[in-house]
Amino acid sequence: MPALTGQLVVFGFASFVAIAFALLMVVQKTPVRSVLSLVVTFFGLSVLAILLAAPFIAALQIFVYAGAILVLFLFVIMLLNLKEEAADKDDRPVQRTLGLLVALGLGGLLAGATLRAPVPPRGSPVGGPIPMPDEIPALGRLLFSNYLLAFEVLSLLLLVAAVGALLLSKRRFE
């Protein structure tokens, strides 16, 4: 089935891009470039999301994450004029090696755990080809029924965060 292999190819490419640019983000010394690498990673992730029948989330990922949150990062970086990370050597070698080991170890652990963990199937997905039918109305109905409380709390959280951010970044004149 050519469509399926096509999906495989897309998956392979997208995950390669995501992982490669994620690595690049970590290795990168210039914060601006780190941000850009992460943006590319998000594009890869968003393609993966489309493969997972979540185009709405994919668009949201780009719209909110790449388009708003990371731009905010960029702004702050420019505001603070962070050209390059401090050139002096990392004077915490223990932290460095241990951190790397722990990250790798935990990554392996999690990979093993997630692969072993059984996922109770809710019902085998069936239906037409991708692009799939509209899932947005179903999401909307869920949002305003089962998740209404979470939604309202979230709106409150956003308000508080906005006020908090405003207060924190305000210059205080003595």
């Binding site: 495989l8 994450y65 990554g107 996922v119 899932e135 869920l142």
Partner: protein, 111 residues
């Protein structure tokens, strides 16, 4: 209302592959968070970790064929927005006070 994912084709890519990619990205983000010294870079790494988890949720949603996972991702993204706003505001305040965002030069979380 049931939250069942509207009918989609069987997965062409094995779900395990998505899980592996997600954990890999999580591990990379974790390494970044532990190794970077610039507060902003650490924050970026945390964002990457959150997105890796998002991918995991999406995969499970696809595997189970319902929308709960996508819903959670929706909320995670919204919370991330709030978190970014406050976090970055804190960094700006921090930079004003210390002229640096190198976390190794700031040891205020003591006593």
């Amino acid at each position: 209302m049931t939250g069942v994912l509207p009918g989609v084709a069987p997965m062409a890519v094995p779900a395990g592959a998505f899980l592996v990619v997600a954990t890999l990205l999580f591990a990379i983000g974790l390494a970044g968070a532990l190794l970077k010294r610039n507060a902003l870079s650490i924050f970026l790494s945390i964002e990457l970790m959150m997105n890796a988890v998002n991918l995991l949720f999406l995969t499970y949603a696809r595997m189970r064929g319902d929308l709960a996972g996508q819903m959670i991702v929706f909320f995670v993204i919204a919370v991330a927005a709030a978190e970014a706003a406050v976090g970055l505001a804190i960094f700006v305040a921090l930079f004003r006070a210390h002229r640096t965002v190198d976390v190794d030069k700031i040891a205020l979380l003591k006593w």
